[in-house]
Symmetry: C2
Subunit: 339 residues, 2 copies
Amino acid sequence: MTPKRASISDIAKELKLAVSTVSRALSGHSRISEATRQRVWQLAEQLDYQPNHLAAALRKGRSNTLGVILPNIDGHFFALVMKGAEAVANQAGFNVMLCQSNEDHAHEAKNVETLMNAQVDGILVSLARNTHDFKHFEKAKQRNLPLVFFDRILDGSEVSAVVVDDQRGGYEITRHLLAQGRRRIAHFGGPQHLNIYKDRYAGYRQALEEAGVPLEEELVVLCHDMSLDDGAAGIRQLLALPQPPDAIFSSGDFTAVGALQALKEHRLRVPQDVALAGFGNETFSSLTEPKLTTIDQRCEEMGGSAIRLLLEMIQNHAQPSTPRKIVLRPELLTRASTG
Amino acid sequence: MTPKRASISDIAKELKLAVSTVSRALSGHSRISEATRQRVWQLAEQLDYQPNHLAAALRKGRSNTLGVILPNIDGHFFALVMKGAEAVANQAGFNVMLCQSNEDHAHEAKNVETLMNAQVDGILVSLARNTHDFKHFEKAKQRNLPLVFFDRILDGSEVSAVVVDDQRGGYEITRHLLAQGRRRIAHFGGPQHLNIYKDRYAGYRQALEEAGVPLEEELVVLCHDMSLDDGAAGIRQLLALPQPPDAIFSSGDFTAVGALQALKEHRLRVPQDVALAGFGNETFSSLTEPKLTTIDQRCEEMGGSAIRLLLEMIQNHAQPSTPRKIVLRPELLTRASTG
DNA sequence: TTGAAAGCGCTAACAA
DNA sequence: TTGTTAGCGCTTTCAA
C-alpha cells in the first residue's frame, strides 16, 4: 500500500556496500572515496531517500528539536517571539515543538514533561501568569537539559534568560510624559509578582523621583489581567479623584486602549486633557485615534536571541556554564496620544 | 555529569524481570499480574522513569507528532488557528511541530521535507500566498502521509480540507449592507488566485445579483496584499469616481481600517456617508472608531476541526479514504461601522 | 503471566 | 577507504 521508503540499508544492499559506508557517504564524511560518494548520492536521489531523524536522534541522543512553552500563542507578543524563534531554530537545523500553558501552572508542568519525553535538546519558556515557583523545572535542570527563559522569568532563579529592559521602558516613557510638561502622571500596573510589571512600575517611579515629582499613591492602579475593562475601570477610579491625572502610563496596550475609550466617553480629549501611553506595541496601538505612544519590545529579536542562547548552551553542553542574561533595549515609540 | 535517566531495562534489571514484562506493565497491558504491575510502577516512580518517545516512535513507526505549516504565525488568524490546533492535538496525546513558510513557496516545500524527515504522523497546512501548485506535496501523498489543508487551499486538488464558507461570509455581509439601504457597494478584493478572496468576491456578487443591483466594475478594487495602504489607495481611487460608493465591503480587516482612516481624512463619516465592513475579526476591528462590522472565521474551531480530521485519517491509515471537506459557517458581527 | 529475541534505522568505535 | 558489529530504548511476536 504505502510505498516503503528507502533506508540506508536499502542503498547499501543495492550498491553492495556496508551501511556504515553509505551513512558516511551521505553525511559528508571525509574519509570516503569520491567514486562511492557519487554512487551513493545518485542512488539516494533516485530512490528518493529521506533520512529518518528519529533513528538518528535515538542513536545520537540528540533530537535536533527544541521545545517552546508559551502562555498562549494568540496575541501579538508571543506570536512574534515565536516567529523569531522558529526562524533562528530552523536556520540552525532544529525543529520547534510548540506547547501552550494557557497561563496555567499545572499545564506548564505537564508541558515540561511532554517535551522531556519527546527528547527535545532544550526548552525555551515564558512563564504562565500563575507560576510562582520553579519546581517543575528542577527535573529538567537536574538532567542538565538546557533551559532558557524569556520575558516572564522568575526572579532569583539561576537560569539563563532573555528579557527586555522593562524598567528602562517604564522610565523612558515616564520621562517622555514629564518632558511634555505633565506632572500628575498615573500608572496602570499589572500583577506585581511578574517581573515585567514590577520593573515597568519601578521605571515609572525612578523617572518621577529623578524629576523631583512625588509619587502619589492614589495615581497608581494595579490591574488584574491588563484587559480593556481594567483600563475602563481604572479611568473611573482616577476621574473620581479630587485632582485627576493629566497623563497615564499603562503597563499594557490593551489597558491603555480601554482607558482611551473610557476617556472619550467622559468627553476628555487625548492628549490635550490627558496624555496616554501604553506598553507593548500591539498591532492596534497604531490604529487607534489618536495613535498610541508605546514601547516596542523587540519581540522577534527576543525570540531569536533566546534560541541562539539555547543553541549555544546545547553546543557547550559539556561544561554547564553559569547562567547568562541578555537584556534587550526597548524602543520608545512616541505617537499622537502623548502630543 | 548528567544523571542518566532511567530506562525500562534499568527497571527490569532492578526487579529481575524481562524488559518486555516491564514494558507491558507500564503500558497498561492486560495480561500482567497485579503484583508485578504494582512493583513496576512503584520503582518507575521512584527512579523517576520518563518514557523515551523517540525509541517508541522508531519502533512503532508512529511519532505521535503532527506537523503544522503556516504562512506566518504573527497575525490574529493563524495564531488562533494554531491555538485550537495545539489544544486538540495535545488532548489526543500528540505533539505539534510548527513551521512557517513565510508566505514563500520554496520555503513551504522545504518545510514539508523537514516534517517528513522528522517522521510526523500527519501534516496540517495553509498555503503560502505564492503557492500555485501541488508538486511539493506529491511525495507526502505518495507515501500516504495524512494531509489536511485549511483556509488557503488549492482548488481541484484531491485532499481533505477545513475551510470557512467564505462565499457565504461575503454574501451575508453584502446582504447586510443592502439591508441598510446601501446600493452602491464597493468591494476590496484580494489576490484572486487564492480561494478565500475569490469566494468572498463571489459572495458579494451573489448578494448583489439576488437583490437586482447591477455589479459596477468601477466599484471593485483588487488589492495586492490587503494592507492598510491598499485600503487608503482604494479610497482614493473610489472617491475619484463621478459617483462614489455609499458602502464598502473589504475582504480583509486591515484594508478596511486603512480605508477607515482615509475616509476620515477626507472628512467622510462612517457609517453616515459610507458604511464600511471588513472580514476576519482581527483584534483591532473592535477597537476602531466606529467599531468595524466584520466576519468571524471561527479560527480556533478551524484549527481544532482540522486536527481532528487529521487524527481521524491517521487512525484509519489502512484504508485511505476519499478526501473530506469540512465547511464552517462564518459569523457576521454587525457593529457600528455599518450603522 | 512472563521471558527471549528480533528489529525499528541509524551512527560510531574498532578492525581490516 | 571500507566493513563488522554493537547498541540507542522501545515494542512485539513467539515460545514457555
